[in-house]
């Protein structure tokens, strides 16, 4: 039991998220490298049926408690602390989604161990667990080894393909009890849905995305023109939405949508991890940025160092001419 690798399942609206499976795929590699079992930790209230999807793990620890029905990071962290203190895993991999945000840090603090953030890879190096973390807006990668156990790992999306973590196998499920405060100090009252009547960007084949590089709301027209010419839709990164140039429902990234269109044309987007997370699954990524060092060029298939404000209209024209 002690020394196992744990992957904590992440849920959204009653279903397991892709990052859960990415984490399982990674967890399996690490568990195999250390020759220990991989255990999935599922926490919630009345969601035991989700456990059968976690067959990539050797078994599932299912923590059931009414308080775990609400997506409150500190409640989940408290439950994990109890489980970890009882069972002493070697490492706990927690998907770093908005839902869980802060849970890995709380867990680490409660256990008195280091908690790593922005982890994009894990491996065994000479018997030690080594993490690779992406910092400084994607500009620097840090390889780091925790010196205490369990190692609490805040996993960033994209570490492994989600499909690698899916399995037909039905794992054994062990129900565990956790004691949680009767009156949690943080309670979810309700979900607030996004504004209705907006286009469903997740179903679009072609997306033209704008970032800070378009400089002003005015220039959105250029992108919209291009989107029209291509038969696609416009979307944007967080800064553009924060400025009010696009509505929240068109935000791609961590706090917005995850999209996998056939074409993702990134105009003036630097490629910070928060944004990349939302579009890295796109079949064809073309990035335009004036900065040749922009991290987006590390994940794009094709890149152009140019001013998006100049290229967009030129491309729109070329496309229109081509289509006839």
């Amino acid at each position: 039991m002690a020394g196992n690798i744990w992957v904590v399942a992440d849920q959204w609206q009653g279903r397991l998220t892709d990052i859960t499976f990415e984490a399982l795929a990674l967890g399996r590699e690490v568990a195999d490298a250390f020759k220990v079992p991989l255990e999935a930790v599922l926490m919630g209230h009345g969601c035991a049926s989700l456990a059968e999807e976690l067959g990539c793990a050797d078994n599932v620890i299912y923590a059931e408690h009414p308080a775990l029905a609400e997506p409150v990071p500190e409640t989940h962290a408290r439950a994990l602390t109890e489980l970890a203190q009882q069972r002493q895993p070697r490492a706990i991999v927690i998907p770093a989604t908005n839902t869980n945000w802060g849970a890995n840090t709380l867990l680490a603090a409660q256990l008195g161990v280091p908690g790593l953030n922005f982890v994009v890879d894990l491996k065994a190096v000479d018997g030690a667990l080594e993490a690779r973390c992406v910092l400084y807006g994607g500009k620097i990668q840090v390889r780091v080894q925790p010196r205490k156990e369990p190692a609490v790992i805040g996993l960033w999306p994209g570490a492994r393909p989600a499909d690698q973590g899916r399995s037909e196998r039905k794992p054994s499920v062990e129900q565990a009890s956790v004691s949680l405060a009767a009156e949690p100090k943080v309670r979810l009252k309700r979900y607030i849905e996004p504004e209705a009547g907006e286009v469903d960007l997740t179903r679009q084949d072609i997306l033209v995305a704008v970032g800070r590089g378009i400089q002003s709301k005015d220039n959105l027209e250029l992108a919209e023109e291009l989107a029209r010419a291509l038969g696609g839709e416009i979307c944007g990164s967080r800064p553009v939405v924060d400025q009010g140039w696009l509505p929240l429902s068109r935000q791609i990234g961590k706090s917005g949508l995850t999209v996998k269109p056939k074409l993702y044309l990134a105009l003036g987007i630097s490629g910070a991890p928060e944004h990349v997370e939302g579009m890295k699954g796109s079949s064809l990524i073309v990035a335009v940025n004036t900065d040749p060092q922009a991290p987006i060029f590390n994940i794009a298939h094709y890149g152009v160092v140019a001013d998006a404000l100049e290229l967009a209209p030129a491309l729109a024209e070329a496309v229109r001419a081509r289509k006839g």
């Binding site: 990071p73 802060g102 280091p114 924060d242 929240l248 917005g256 290229l311």
Partner: protein, 260 residues
């Protein structure tokens, strides 16, 4: 309301980041520091809450180059009290710094009790933790992150809006006092005319407070193996030429894939 805002300086990524010769830290020479972006949002949210509910805003910041500018600017924006924390250095990793800040909050005279401690939801340097939950843990207060609004405060609780995904948000009820990690304030951080900041430089006294000893060592429980700039492998195939030439090449590409 008694509001405390924790603000810190992080490397400005507008400048080129260079790795130090030992490969385990950033080259300090090349660095310029800037206030962490979401900390600025935390300050804005605090100021909005003060405008809405009354009270005072205190800003606490660990010492760092150019932090005085940040504190004077906060004062010019409406912060009532600005405090610089000595003995806590900026640098890679936040856990030690967050612990020191939390200890300081309890020790600074006339600071606590407070209703809310606000700080950014995350920063670009958060290798070994997030400040907000670490401070919450030390203080024994509830915590919520990715906050984008605080809409109501009454009967010892606050209604806090958090961002989930796909445009969804959640309305939470949080018992006070609490620590909030602010992702984005309800309005973009306000502009303050430079003349006002210069006036604040004359009228405001930055209090200095020595962080309670012992100040935790940064990165004690981890070993930094190496820093690196991301590999160029998997880098995009770059298209060269004039804007018109590139547009033509892209059209070819798209046509080949049946996208036109």
């Amino acid at each position: 309301m008694n509001l405390v805002v924790l603000m810190r300086m992080v490397p400005d990524v507008v400048e080129e980041l260079e790795i130090a010769p030992d490969g385990k830290s950033l080259d300090q020479e090349a660095l310029r520091l800037i206030v962490s972006e979401s900390d600025d949002h935390a300050l804005e949210e605090a100021l909005l809450l003060k405008e809405r509910f009354g009270g005072r805003v205190t800003v606490v910041a660990p010492e760092a180059p150019e932090v005085a500018d940040v504190l004077y600017t906060a004062a010019a924006k409406g912060a009532d009290r600005v405090i610089q924390l000595r003995g806590v250095e900026p640098g890679l990793g936040v856990a030690a710094m967050a612990e020191a800040c939390a200890a300081a909050l309890s020790a600074i005279p006339d600071l606590l009790p407070a209703d809310l401690v606000l700080t950014g939801a995350q920063s670009i340097e958060d290798l070994d933790g997030l400040v907000a939950p670490l401070v919450a843990h030390r203080l024994g207060w509830p915590y919520l992150g990715v906050v984008t609004a605080v809409s109501e405060v009454s009967n010892g609780t606050a209604t806090v809006i958090k961002e989930f995904q796909a445009g969804y948000r959640g309305e939470f009820q949080v018992s006070l006092p609490a620590v909030l990690g602010v992702q984005a304030a309800e309005k973009p951080p306000r502009y303050v005319p430079v003349a006002k900041v210069r006036a604040a430089m004359k009228a405001t006294r930055i209090e200095e407070f020595e962080a309670p000893q012992p100040v935790p060592e940064p990165l004690q429980d981890v070993t930094i193996v190496a820093l690196a700039k991301p590999e160029a492998t998997g880098r995009a195939e770059m298209l060269e030429g004039s804007v018109e030439e590139v547009a033509g090449k892209l059209c070819e590409l798209l046509a080949e894939r049946g996208l036109l």
